[in-house]
Symmetry: C2
Subunit: 358 residues, 2 copies
């Protein structure tokens, strides 16, 4: 690392030690992007008011003990546009997204609640198509859609429909996942190529003058999580699905929570050529582009190869790779070792280059 | 009953026996009003696709067995405008509304998930106020806000904010509530005056050129449900909170589910004078106006007085009354006995006279 890099690291580290404050006057698109602004909103305003230890950990879901059962609860609103895109639609995304939040909490998805906010004038066939898409996705994921709600707002007050899904799952006891538990030497496993979903959405919007055959990776991740729990057991430290903010943001959150450093081997990260090409035209790094069927897992080195084999044996994990490792330092940060042997800092997502991708 | 009334009854009964179909081309405000159009959408499109027995019962929540625990899951989106109104705001409403859906399912509210859809440009102080309102309402209701999500949509694509709350509760075993279980002779208990919430919202919008001191009744109903479970035990047949569509719609749903008739004594229904006055000016019946802190309970005649005393002993139930009784016929319908000794049919809400009241 050069002196300049070292100085940059120290500045970032100093800033990170400050308590998170929310200091903006109004809400901007960046507050919904899943990166730094979202973190400031959640950690600086919402979590302190709700004052719940579970929420304060800012995981994808919360553990709740009810009687003898330990369950996980998670919720997500979906506002993607357009409603339909290559590889999926808002209905499929809403089911898979919540199933995946349960899966990466180590909970077997059981039941979903669906709340719809519909725009007056929405074509009934469009709605019916999304209801069918939700039912189909739920069947594939093995969850039941058990309850729901429907509201309608006036023309112009929503983009066709917004969908909020909330999932309940049973905590799997094979591992005690905790993002604080990352240890030096642990390996970073990524379940497949990055950036497919966000790129597919951008192409579907026609904002890029580009034709490319990219489809969303939206898919349920419980089979991948299940395989990891089986192969790594208690040596599975943490799982995250890399949605808004992409793999880069997830790795930063993990590094910050555990106070460890993470080094990513850029050459090992799978990216489809069409995604790489679109990202180059846009000037964005695919590591920041949202995925809807990819997880990042941290495993002990002793089980890393077995975990990779178990994930690769699944259709949803055939493109999996070990992309990096956990080190002692720089604490709370992610570095990338480039193909040319250099090193650079990979920070959390800042701003919102790709709004409303989920 | 006159011959004309008898003929009207037969026509309605014939129509009700037809399977519910959804036949509209587009979504209208009425589909979100909680009355007939909402029922057609849910029973005619959504429930068949989701194909789940629990959902098909169209209760306010779904029972889920997880291990040895029986829990209830319920979800609701809130799109009320304005965001703040006399007696409450969208944040308080979102917490109480979901707490109340759990309560009337006979479940002690335990945990809530909160999903926010924010409009770009929303004043951060407004958001912060609603976060605090949710935290305060949760403290009063005794539930924890355990997890959440935040999305942002562009200016004009939402009315400031929409809030979706999803609740988990533990099923209370003192009663086995089932709306099908209504029996002739059962009494109808209403926990307080009707129409406060919907009227307060209308007045807050300034659409009525009217000044009246009406505040929303938004409040958690678990204490009322708890008192009813204690006083009536297994003789408590069913509970419903009378939100969209009002008490009239809830009674129709109960009568239809059980195949019984319900007769309401109009003079026994508590209505505040200011609410009565506003409804007369609007030409609407307060029985169709939304409440956010009132429940309707059906109890066996033997425990009706004890149940009423138990509810009246609570601050939230001081205005409670027994307002009617269950009979054999007309099956699936609700009749009102007027103060003048006449009888009329009280059907479900049709259309949406008061949009976006929750």
């Amino acid at each position: 690392m050069t002196d300049l890099e070292q100085q940059a690291l120290e500045r970032i580290e100093k800033r990170r030690r400050r308590p998170v404050r929310f200091a903006d006057d109004t809400i901007t698109m960046a507050h919904g992007a899943g990166g730094k602004a979202t973190q400031a909103l959640v950690a600086g305003m919402i979590a302190p008011a709700f004052a719940d230890a579970t929420l304060a950990e800012l995981d994808d879901g919360a553990r709740i003990e009810l009687g003898d059962t330990e369950l996980v609860l998670t919720t997500d609103s979906f506002v993607v546009r357009p409603l339909r895109f290559p590889g999926g639609s808002i209905g499929a995304l809403a089911v898979n997204g919540t199933v995946n939040d349960l899966a990466v909490c180590g909970a077997r998805p059981t039941a979903l609640a669906v709340a719809l906010v519909l725009e007056e004038g929405l074509d009934a066939n469009v709605l019916s198509g999304e209801i069918d898409a939700m039912a189909a996705a739920a069947r594939v994921a093995g969850v039941r859609l058990v309850t729901g709600d429907t509201k309608v707002v006036e023309r112009g007050k929503a983009d066709g429909m917004y969908v909020t899904t909330t999932g309940v799952g049973m905590l799997d006891r094979r591992a005690a996942l905790a993002r604080r538990d990352l240890r030096p030497g642990d390996r970073i496993l990524l379940s497949g190529p990055v950036g497919d979903h966000g790129t597919a959405i951008l192409l579907a919007r026609g904002e890029l003058d580009l034709e490319a055959d990219v489809v969303s990776d939206t898919a349920p991740l419980w089979p991948v999580a299940d395989a990891l729990l089986g192969a790594a057991g208690s040596e599975l430290r943490a799982m995250r699905d890399a949605t808004r903010g992409g793999v880069a943001t997830v790795l930063n959150e993990l590094a910050a929570a555990a106070g460890v450093g993470i080094v990513v081997d850029e050459a090992a990260v799978p990216v489809r050529p069409a995604v790489q090409g679109a990202c180059e035209i846009l000037g964005i790094d695919p590591m920041y582009v949202a995925n809807e069927g990819r997880l990042v897992a941290v495993v002990a080195p002793s089980v890393a190869d077995a975990a990779l084999d178990a994930v690769r044996a699944l259709p949803a994990g055939s493109g999996a790779a070990l992309i990096g490792r956990v080190g002692d330092e720089p604490a709370g940060m992610v570095l990338v070792r480039t193909a040319f042997g250099g090193t650079r800092i990979m920070d959390m997502l800042v701003g919102d280059p790709l709004p409303r991708i989920c």
